[in-house]
């Protein structure tokens, strides 16, 4: 029972009617509510079969964007510097492409990564973005250090995140 301002009404024992004090009729009223809930829809998601798809704003694991097998990253080291968990390690080197620099080693330690998205925010080349994957499992600490092989994803698969970043920034 609620008053008009939404707060529940305080009922003192003296205010209960005779039937309410008997308590047994109240039990049956409660049972009616409980039993009717049995037939209402359930809200459980059957996990591995039914999955939840994140929106484009979701911050999953960080990935390196590449187009035609060339990563956009110029190994400037900003993501490494801004990472609050010190999870990123970048080693730069020269290349003959017009961007002149490329990361010869780019490692993210997923056990340290906190999925904050600072690396994506600070990158001047839109080279590292947060994807939608969050279901990561490892069986050893070494396995959790992702190198370029596990981090490079083609730009076509990250289109909605890249569009979201262009629109929101």
């Amino acid at each position: 029972m609620k008053k008009s301002n939404g707060q529940p009404e305080i009922v003192h024992t003296e205010d209960l009617s005779f039937f309410q004090k008997l308590y047994i009729p109240e039990i049956f009223k409660g049972l009616r509510i409980t039993l009717s809930q049995i037939f209402k829809p359930k809200f459980t998601r059957q996990y591995p079969e039914e999955r939840w798809e994140p929106t484009e704003a979701f911050r999953g694991r960080p990935v390196l964007v590449h187009e035609d097998s060339v990563e956009r990253c110029v190994a400037c080291g900003l993501c490494s510097r801004v990472c609050p968990a010190l999870a990123i390690e970048v080693q730069a080197s020269e290349t003959d492409l017009s961007k002149e620099r490329y990361p010869v080693k780019f490692e993210i330690n997923m056990l340290r990564c906190i999925f904050c998205g600072f690396c994506e925010e600070v990158c001047p080349e839109e080279a590292i973005v947060m994807s939608k994957e969050f279901e990561l499992t490892f069986t050893s600490q070494e396995e959790a250090i992702f190198g370029k092989d596990k981090l490079l994803i083609h730009a076509n698969q990250l289109r909605d995140r890249l569009e979201y970043l262009r629109a929101m920034r």
Binding site: I24, I27, G30, L31, I33, T34, L35, Q37, I38, K40, P41, K42, F43, T44
Partner: protein, 337 residues
Amino acid sequence: MDILIALIKIAVVLLAMLLTAAYLVYAERRISAFIQNRIGPNRVGPFGLLQPIADVVKLVLKEDIVPALANRKIHDLAPVISIGIALVTFAVVPFGDRIVLFGREIKLQIADVNVGVLYILALTSLGVYGITLSGWSSNNKYSLLGGLRSAAQMISYELSMGLSIIGVVMIAGSLELDSIVQAQYGWKWNVLLQPLGFITFVVAAFAETNRLPFDLPEAEPELVGGYHTEYSGLKFGLFFLAEYTNVVTSSALITTLYLGGWQIPYLQTAGLSPTWMALLQVGAFISKVIVVMLFFVVVRWTIPRFRYDQLMNLGWKVMLPLAIANVLVTGVVILLT
């Protein structure tokens, strides 16, 4: 030969009781989930039906931890008492009428003690020991409090339980459970003849089995786990199973004493063969017990828990006078008719 028949009956009933208690746990998890708009366990086997087996295997494989200063022998003994009493109480419950197999008349009741009601009351009193001893032997304040509270609760409600049963005994004229069921032919079910006794008995049954709304002795927020806090592995499994077996036994007693046991009203007029009638009656008994068990389950998820002083107040100042009044009124009515 008689011993063989008795052993077969014991084996069948024991197996049925254990399976029923295990699947009552499953049913409770499923029903409580549906009440809360979620589905219960549905992964282990089709619709989760193998979940009790998974639970039992898990509990058997767990480490048996006993607190350092605990009284080891009593710590081991207490769950055995609990589950032993819970199972043995079912020995006097008749689950069907007589059947004739291979020329012998067999009563569908393990032990037709002619003081069946006294046997039941005695065993419920013994059941208090399991909980009290576990609370004491755990060397833990919370267990001790839980054990003591539970013991006090069970003792208080035994009185109103006994007095309610006296009403039934007065109507049936005998302490034998079989006679009590036979006296409930036609529409003379005791729930209609003794409505007040039925209510007091059901409330007392809830209190005796430590089920909500009377489960303060094992309430987690108050007592961490009450009397079974310090138990793990198979011993905890036995306590857990003992609680649900108590529910099964109490449901069976409520059915036998008040809901007509295995009686189906006016089944004789249908003119079926005796074996068919016996089967239908066993089926009726099982259905009634299932309905009462489901009532136990649903009430747990509907009503809030009683505070301890409210519980004792209810037991001594409300249930006991009502039960005594019931005996008085029944006596007067019997005298006048």
